[in-house]
């Protein structure tokens, strides 16, 4: 396959960036999208041009490090992570536009690399169960209904990649927050801190500069782990309950 690639280049956070066009020949359909960029980078390096910076780590769809806006879609046209996207999803001769996640809460570090530290700070605000090491009771002392455990797992599959934010027309991180709040809220262990958790996480979310949710659903469509919109409903409900409880 031969491709035309339009890629955002930006030397660092302070500099202005622009789209650059590259031609890439002999791309194998069996390559992953990131391997295609590896090949481009190898060629750039040989030509004396600095390779394009992009994030990836596990390359098996679980660590959440990779994430590119490809032809206007977060993680590209398939429901998967960028690293699990393969070139067979594209056509010979196609022009592919590649941009970083765009969110003012995710400043660009370089080229296609962004800083998603805001999501860590949302977790710091309350996305945990307070239990010191060694203070846990015997695991079987609290049974958890299987349905709750399964549902908690389903939403805990969030990989914190930020695709929901990237895809959201409002730049909201509600799907990410909702997944965490729902996961911990479904389990008995998460109950004591349930009110403070949701309030503090949402407050941090707002403080980071993410937008508010308008329930459009772009996030869930872009989510490689298919986290459903239910979690945002749960987030809203928990916050409403917290207001009622005087938080």
């Amino acid at each position: 396959m031969n491709l035309t690639l339009k890629i955002w280049r930006q030397p660092d956070a302070a500099s202005k960036g622009a789209m650059h066009t590259y031609e890439l020949a002999d791309v194998s359909p069996d390559m992953s999208f990131l391997e295609m960029l590896d090949v481009l980078n190898e060629q750039l390096n040989d030509r004396g041009e600095e390779p394009i910076a992009f994030d990836s780590d596990c390359r098996e769809g679980i660590c959440g490090t990779c994430g590119l806006m490809i032809n206007g879609y977060a993680h590209g046209p398939e429901v998967t992570t960028t690293c699990q996207l393969h070139m067979r999803s594209f056509k010979d001769g196609e022009t592919i536009t590649i941009e970083p996640w765009r969110s003012d809460a995710f400043p660009v570090v370089k080229d296609l690399v962004v800083d998603r530290g805001a999501l860590d700070r949302i977790v710091q605000a309350g996305g945990y169960v307070s239990v010191n090491t060694g203070s846990a009771p015997e695991a079987h002392s609290v049974p958890v209904p299987k349905d709750d455990a399964d549902r908690a797992f389903n939403v805990a599959t969030c990989i914190q990649c930020g695709a929901c934010v990237a895809a959201c027309p409002n730049g909201s991180a509600s799907l990410f927050m909702g997944a965490k709040v729902t996961h911990l809220g479904l389990l008995p262990q998460g109950q004591p801190e349930r009110d403070e958790r949701v309030v503090n996480m949402v407050a941090q979310h707002d403080h980071e500069g993410f937008g508010g949710c308008t329930n459009i659903g772009s996030c869930t469509a872009a989510c490689p782990k298919e986290i459903p919109l239910d979690v945002i409903s749960q987030l809203n409900k928990d916050l409403r309950t917290a207001i009622r409880h005087g938080h």
Binding site: T97, A105, G171, A203, T214, I232, N236, R240, I243
Partner: protein
């Protein structure tokens, strides 16, 4: 963000928007019911309009209930518009560098039109109030003290009807997403089934409202409703 206040969050803004939105849905449905009285003829329609003013008497003064309703609507409007503007502004600040290419998959067009659609409805509302309530403008220069006649005179002008129909399209789209969105914001859609149900209710209500409101002006234009 320890010790944050729940009421200061974006979610609280959305809650306010959802509640005020639902009040409007109730109003819009009631208003539509009144409009359809036009098919009952001149007297039925005017009687209804007149009766609204006498609602609650003698416990309440003349137009008392109407003003309570109006006050509720005005507060709802302020809340709805202010929270809408605040959230709009937040969203604009959340992404100051736009994508060169951005597509939205798996979303309704209505969901992407909420803000400009809302502005359209607001502009229409101003005109609508000038037309029928505050200003009482008769585009044909006729009398304005007879609600039924004013209405017929208005919709007999084709472009007035067009303006009205465009507004109803905007209202339909707004309700189509708005109703389900408000349900989601209020936390009533925590499962896939509930979500589908809320979306269906939103769509059906939107359809009923936009068609229901369009019937009267179209009937006027078609000569079914006449003076």
């Amino acid at each position: 963000m320890k010790g944050a206040r729940a009421s200061r969050t974006t979610v609280a803004l959305k809650l306010a928007m959802a509640v005020s939105g639902f009040l409007f849905v109730g109003f819009v449905l009631a208003h539509m019911y009144g409009n359809l009285k036009a098919f009952g003829g001149h007297d039925a329609f005017n009687e209804y309009a007149h009766h609204l003013r006498e609602l609650g008497e003698p416990l309440l003064p003349h137009e008392g209930a109407l003003w309570i309703l109006r006050l509720g609507l005005i507060i709802s409007l302020v809340v709805h518009v202010v929270t809408g503007v605040l959230l709009w502004r937040r969203a604009a600040r959340a992404r100051t560098t736009k994508y060169v290419q951005k597509k939205n998959s798996g979303v309704t067009r209505a969901s992407l039109m909420m803000r400009w659609g809302g502005v359209t409805i607001l502009v229409f509302l101003v005109w609508h109030l000038l037309n029928f309530t505050i200003g009482k403008v008769n585009p044909q220069g006729g009398a304005t003290n007879d609600p039924y006649n004013l209405m017929v005179d208005t919709f007999d002008v084709w472009w007035m009807t067009v303006i009205y129909l465009v507004a109803m399209l905007a209202l339909g789209a707004h309700l189509h997403h708005g109703i389900w969105s408000a349900a989601q914001t209020l936390g009533w859609t925590g499962t896939a089934t509930k979500r589908r149900r809320a979306k269906t209710i939103g769509f059906v209500t939107a359809l009923v409202v936009s068609v229901g409101y369009s019937l009267v002006p179209l009937a006027v234009l078609a000569g079914i409703i006449t003076k």
